[in-house]
């Protein structure tokens, strides 16, 4: 980062703020700093001149840059990052299967602090590698499914289908969680509906909803959950729902 022109042009106060960001768990900003160092200095028709401001919450951070357009205009551009950086976590769709036929899908519901409302939600969360004995993406996905569905152990039907990353809101943030579809055996359905969701002390309460797959289009029409909707689109494009819907 120290070789970046924008960094050299940044005031010593703000460079100091960058230098003082926590490096140690559980509050490290290392992912954010890695992304920041890798950002290009030219983006489309603007040149990034310096970091004008850096404002931080405990989890989120807003870097505000001075930029210059090719037409010579000076203004600021900013974005929001998690302190984890852009690849912050995973979110996915859980399907249930009976003898290789998809029979159900799962939606979580819970109040979200950001919106202050009950939201449809998808299974997943921060990636938190090196926590809970998790060292790679597939393990993290399996741990999230197990925790959020409240299952004592997890047996997936086949491999988790990795659907690539999703830019949640690239006008606002660099956040880019991974998407997945995972398939469980339908015999778990009863256990799921009675399970307490997520034992994590710091997560808000929520519930697990199991729907017959025939209601997928109805639930999609009502859902406001970007992760769920994106996973359904990806699943449809891969033919996962062929034979269920026209």
């Amino acid at each position: 980062m120290v070789q970046r022109k924008w960094f050299v042009n940044t005031s010593s106060d703000i460079r100091q703020t960058l230098a003082e960001l926590p490096e140690q768990d559980p509050r490290n900003f290392n992912g954010f700093l890695l992304d920041l160092a890798e950002r290009p200095e030219r983006i489309a028709n603007v040149t990034v001149e310096s970091l004008a401001e850096l404002v931080c919450g405990n989890y989120a951070v807003i870097p505000v840059f001075n930029v210059r357009s090719d037409a010579g205009q000076l203004y600021t551009y900013e974005y929001v990052s998690w302190r984890y950086g852009s690849m912050s976590g995973v979110k996915g769709l859980i399907l249930l299967e009976n003898h290789e036929r998809i029979t159900h899908f799962i939606v979580l519901k819970g109040e979200k602090f950001a919106t202050g409302k009950v939201e449809d939600d998808s299974v997943g969360g921060y990636i938190d590698l090196n926590v809970d004995g998790v060292t790679n993406l597939s393990q993290r996905i399996e741990k999230e499914i197990q925790q959020e569905l409240g299952l004592p152990e997890l047996v997936l039907k086949g491999d988790t289908i990795l659907l690539g990353e999703m830019a949640t809101d690239p006008g606002m943030t660099n956040n880019r969680p991974g998407l997945f579809i995972a398939i469980l055996d339908v015999s778990l359905a009863r256990q799921l509906e009675s399970a307490a969701r997520d034992p994590d002390e710091r997560e808000l309460r929520g519930e697990v909803c199991v729907y017959p797959i025939g209601r997928l289009q109805e639930v999609v029409r009502q859902s406001q959950d970007s992760f769920f909707l994106a996973c359904v689109a990806k699943g449809w494009a891969r033919g996962i729902f062929d034979g269920i819907f026209r």
Copy 2:
């Protein structure tokens, strides 16, 4: 807001910061303040005790709250808001039609400041009512389509299909733009491909890509754009692609 318990418990410094947020265009934070005043003081199993910190960029803002869980734990929760508040804008999918048959769809591509990368993008943007003579949502959508596709005038086939709102990333932000599908006549295709995108000085360069509808599933498999993916899922659930795909 002044009657909220959390507001009463908030330090006078931070109350002062709230009071000093710009109220006048073009930099007003009124949408953010309206949302803030309407937030519940109980969210799931936590009580919001006070605003611990308020850090602001020029467009984005992070309110950090002290909260208390029912189990008696004290910690902070935070979220990110645009200064416009949660209903910040609209994003949608544009389809082209030839004699009532869908023939093409449109994807934008452009570099995004937040990610520093070329991203798939959807038509739309901030809602900015009372700008460009726009006073309601449908007018805003039409103005965005016209601007971003570089069309001198806009003739939609039928009404814009409003798909409701989408929570882009409710673990991070209250942002909740509206989604839509709009249909244009295929005769515009050539004009679209040669058009310069968006005359807005402050938007980054981008391009308009027109694909035959038969390539929709292929493009969905590769896309990382939450808005595009959500609109496709909603369109599929409404039967808009019936007869084109199994």
